[in-house]
């Protein structure tokens, strides 16, 4: 049988629909889905075209498509309802109940969530990304006073992508500092981190996984050898423990999970979420 067509449809970027439908579909790992996003469906003409696209896909696949929608303008839902498909309206049921609970109507304005609705907040988020780039890989420690947090760990333990995620998603000023052999000579924190112990968070990783990652970058090098990876990880963990630096293991955690864990454990507050 063909994979079942899935459409993710919104009057703006469709990011909310994408996130929730991805979670829902991941609960059916044995079913083959063929996903397609139709963002920016913001006119009745586009909604009617979407219905045709959905119907054609259903006929071609021989089964009813699943359609996930996040329209704020409910008139578009009515058009979509004419499609030969299972429509999952991801917003309206909750909005209706919130209106009752809060005793006020919703704004019905689309794209309030992922748009630049608060200009200052958005600018801060972009500044945070620039900061993460500026303070990547131990660069510019003189600017650590501006940091929300400083990720530390062995080279290639996942610091950079995690910092970029923390900046992009939460607007945190996330610096990162790689621990190298010279940092391991004592058990003390490296000099540039000393005044900022409270901002430090450690990342560790399974040495075998680190060996794989380093091997991709520098095959056959001493840097990538399993022995060296074991040593670097052990030294980093010792440093975290002796200095009471909270840390977590990036081996089986995605940047999203690491980001949530770090935010939660450090008690960081984002103006965004």
């Amino acid at each position: 049988m063909s994979r079942r067509p899935v459409f993710i449809i919104s009057d703006r970027s469709g990011l909310t629909a994408e996130t929730l439908s991805h979670t829902l579909l991941s609960q059916f790992p044995d079913t083959g889905f063929q996903q397609r996003a139709l963002p920016f469906i913001d006119s009745h003409e586009k909604a009617r075209e979407a219905v045709e696209t959905i119907n054609r896909a259903g006929e071609a696949a021989g089964c009813r498509p699943l359609v996930f929608t996040t329209f704020v303008d409910e008139a578009f839902n009515e058009t979509l309802d004419t499609a030969e498909a299972e429509i999952f309206d991801l917003l309206s049921p909750f909005i209706a109940r919130m209106e009752r609970v809060l005793g006020q109507p919703s704004s019905h304005k689309p794209g309030q969530s992922h748009s630049i609705s608060d200009f200052k907040e958005y600018t801060n988020r972009i500044d945070a990304v620039n900061f993460a780039m500026h303070c990547d890989d131990g660069l510019h420690p003189a600017d650590y006073s501006k940091a929300s947090l400083i990720l530390i760990g062995a080279s290639r333990s996942g610091k950079t992508p995690t910092c970029l995620y923390l900046a992009l998603h939460f607007g945190f000023y996330a610096a990162n500092y790689p621990l190298t052999e010279e940092d391991f000579s004592g058990s003390r924190l490296p000099e540039p981190l000393m005044p900022f112990r409270d901002k430090a968070f450690g990342l560790t990783i399974d040495p075998l996984r680190l060996h794989q990652i380093r091997t991709e970058r520098r095959p056959g090098s001493e840097y990538a050898s399993l022995g060296r990876c074991r040593e670097d990880v052990a030294q980093a963990e010792t440093m975290f423990r002796r200095n009471n630096i909270p840390f977590c293991d990036s081996t089986n955690f995605s940047v999203e999970e690491l980001g949530s864990t770090i935010k939660h454990q450090m008690g960081l507050v984002s103006s965004l979420y």
Copy 2:
């Protein structure tokens, strides 16, 4: 009146709950909310503690908290239901209907969505972030053959954060190339971009906004002057039009909206969404 407490609760990172609840709350812009995330609530003891936290917050604020949950293990929902709060279960109603439509039970495994459920896919996403850093700001054009797309535009038009978002979120290999005065001498594409015209996408921006952004970085400079910003934007747009490069305006678009627009307009397919 105190702001109404809002809790975002999940057995994993809570990212899905965060995204959907943010969208829902943004539809009530005039109501003050006090948001708090309680991720990783993965035991009955933690669920009971969450209930206590919710009840205390409700008493302190003098109104019923809103609680958004994305538990995959439905037993935790039952515990949460004992809280003196309005519980919005964001998953169960949809999962139940999908089970009926698809004729099969859901896996009920938490964290399938934002976790490293597909190791190869996750590694690709991290490699994409490394590529975006490696090919930021015109660096390493020799590697453009590996790029999924190349963002071009005047300095500070929003290329870097957009590329990092495209890499982190979709796993696209996004390079970016800044257009400078020397590129504007003719209307031809800059040399390094010539062989990759089909991968190019332009970003433009309101010259006044560009002037503000550049002024923050280099106050009073010729680079930041309004005249220079107007000239750079006009030249960039001329280049996009003469070379049939699709482009969009970053002035009022967030990185999420730019990302969805670029993906959609270029017909890029992500293995993630």
